[in-house]
Amino acid sequence: MKNNVGKKLIGTLAIPVIVAAVLWGLCAANGRSMIANRTSFNYFVIYTAIVMITTMALSINLNSGRFDFSLGAMAVLASVLSSKITYSILGGGAGSAPLMLALNVVVGALIGLASGGLYVLLRIPPIITSLGVTLIYEGVSFTITGGKYVMTEVRSASLSAFAGNWYWPLSIIVVVLAVIVILFDHTKFGYDYKALQNGQKVAVNTGIREVPNALACYAICGALMGIVGFLNMSRSSNINGGSLSFGSIGIMFTAFLPMFIGGYIGRFSNEKLGFLLAAVCMSMLNSTFAVFSNQISASAQSIINAVLLVVFLIYLNNEGLLRKLLSPRKN
């Protein structure tokens, strides 16, 4: 029993500890600090929240065989609408950030629901529906913003205060993690989701209602991407409304590596906790890139991220073979 707990603990913490040791060591060897001051710590926590929530949103539908390209477009559209509404009510005054966050969640859930509704109604493969939905949402954002950056409606003292205090994004991380764990691991909705994920036909034949479950998944994804949109706004103080022709899908690709790392950690504990730890790893990597920004260009960062993804997947998909090769031969 003790052994089992130890194994789980080591399995859960091994990757984050190794990543932290390597990256801290790298920074220290060059006389630098990965997180030098409070501002970089604030960004570290915000980036962790962005990656964790995007990864959760990506995995909810992807684990059920529903590929969704529209995640980025949903985040942008929810942010554009919520910032415009908030500005029209409060004019950038006190309470803008909480109202914007609440609206981002509600608007995000509604556009997610609309996306799921289209999928259920048309009954065409989700990947194709998501292509159409991405184009529509990008088009709507572009039309509202005229293809420009949204800045006046986003900048407010309230939002700056949010971005300047690490405990706000940390609170979001805790709340989102708790809600997602409860929803997917401890409710009837979650049990139905898992049944449909592992045996769609059988689950439907046993009476599980697939359509409401799928719609709820899309709504949850939308709400999560609404939060991501809000966090991105607080980080950069603007929204790029000019993405067209699938320009918004890049956000999704940042979540692939943490999704696979989270899945691996999930074998030893909980997949959602795995997503958090994977997000922490990605955030440490991002902070290290920031430290060495003079030496490592944006192109080099993309290459490093892609290589890490491939190397990790090579390990993940050939684990058995590697173990066989590395274990001592028995005669």
Binding site: G139, F142, T143, F246, N305
Partner: protein, 330 residues
């Protein structure tokens, strides 16, 4: 005629309609473009040239990609691969001033990138889609680095226009399109390669149990796609002899739209068709140009994209109407 016969006739009629719908859409869009351009008093020949030049690159790259999509896989890195091949082609020409060498490099790089993706997926058992996502990041990043190093992010890198100007003729491009399409149609419809790829796409377990190697046919599919990318990269340079970081940026996603627009299911299998890429590629470019003409303000780009997406979903919905299942599709 009993009830079953009536149902069979109705099914056959719907099937015929579904088969001809992409062609009708292409003809309708072509007619609409001609009518709108004429009504607005613009030069029709100029618009047709624009549509043809944009459409031919998308159609050729998408035609090669049909082989990958037939297997039920998909490759999101083809746009980045086109950019990377064109970038290395330009750098090669500028270093050697040799057009044949530039062509050789373009094709070698395009096929090499495709092969690398497929081998990585086959040897290390990585999901093809994830491999191509990683390839997309790497190729775009390396190309961007080369372009900014040798030419600057905005201006990009270029070859002298007189080098490729003699080839910037509709006849040359039509010949290239016809030859590549004929090759693809032959391989796809008249050899065991195409038949086996459709079998693998339709039922991979059953196909592999009959002794068909998924890895072998995946590699062939990626090589065919690489050829398409090579031709696409070369024709891009023929049309515009300069490369910037945004060149061919949207091709990767437009291929998926074009293939589906042409009436082919994204899941591949027996209903895969080479002509889907040709018909869908030109239809999509025609539709985009029509919408640009109709909504010509800055915000109009957004509106035209919304209309284009709705049209896309309607076409897919209608062409898939005979394949509805009780459970939700995945």
């Amino acid at each position: 005629m009993d009830k079953n016969d009536k149902l069979a006739v109705s099914y056959r009629r719907r099937q015929t309609l579904i088969t001809v719908l992409p062609f009708l859409a292409l003809a309708g869009l072509f007619g609409a473009l001609c009518a709108i351009v004429t009504a607005k008093g613009y030069r029709l020949d100029m618009y047709l040239k624009i549509v043809f030049n944009e459409g031919v690159v998308l159609a050729i790259v998408a035609t090669g990609a049909v082989f990958i999509y037939t297997l039920g896989s998909f490759d999101i890195s083809l746009g980045a691969s086109t950019l990377f091949s064109a970038t290395l082609g330009v750098l090669t020409y500028n270093a050697t001033e040799s057009l044949p060498l530039m062509l050789l490099v373009i094709f070698a790089v395009a096929v090499g990138c495709s092969l690398f993706s497929s081998v990585l997926a086959s040897v290390f058992h990585i999901p093809v889609f994830v491999t191509t996502v990683a390839m997309m990041s790497v190729l775009s990043a390396v190309a961007a680095q080369l372009i900014t190093t040798y030419g600057g992010a905005l201006g990009g890198i270029s070859i002298p226009s007189e080098v490729v100007k003699p080839l910037d003729k509709p006849l040359f491009k039509i010949i290239v399109l016809v030859v590549f399409s004929a090759l693809c149609i032959f391989v796809f419809n008249y050899t065991k390669i195409g038949r086996r790829q459709k079998f693998l796409g339709g039922n991979p377990v059953c196909a592999q149990l009959t002794g068909i190697s998924l890895n072998k046919y995946a590699i062939i599919a990626f090589v065919m796609a690489g050829l398409g990318v090579g031709i696409g990269a070369f024709l891009t340079l023929v049309y515009t002899p300069s490369v910037t970081t945004t060149t061919a940026g949207s091709i990767g996603m437009n291929i998926i739209v074009a293939i589906v627009f042409g009436g082919m299911p994204i899941s591949g299998g027996a209903r895969s068709r080479i002509y889907a890429a040709l018909v869908g590629g030109f239809s999509y470019i025609l539709l985009n140009n029509i919408l640009m003409l109709l909504v010509d303000s800055n915000a109009g780009y957004g509106i035209s994209q919304i209309i284009s997406a709705v049209f896309f979903l309607v076409v897919v919905f209608v062409t898939g109407i005979n394949y509805r299942t009780q459970i939700l599709p995945r």
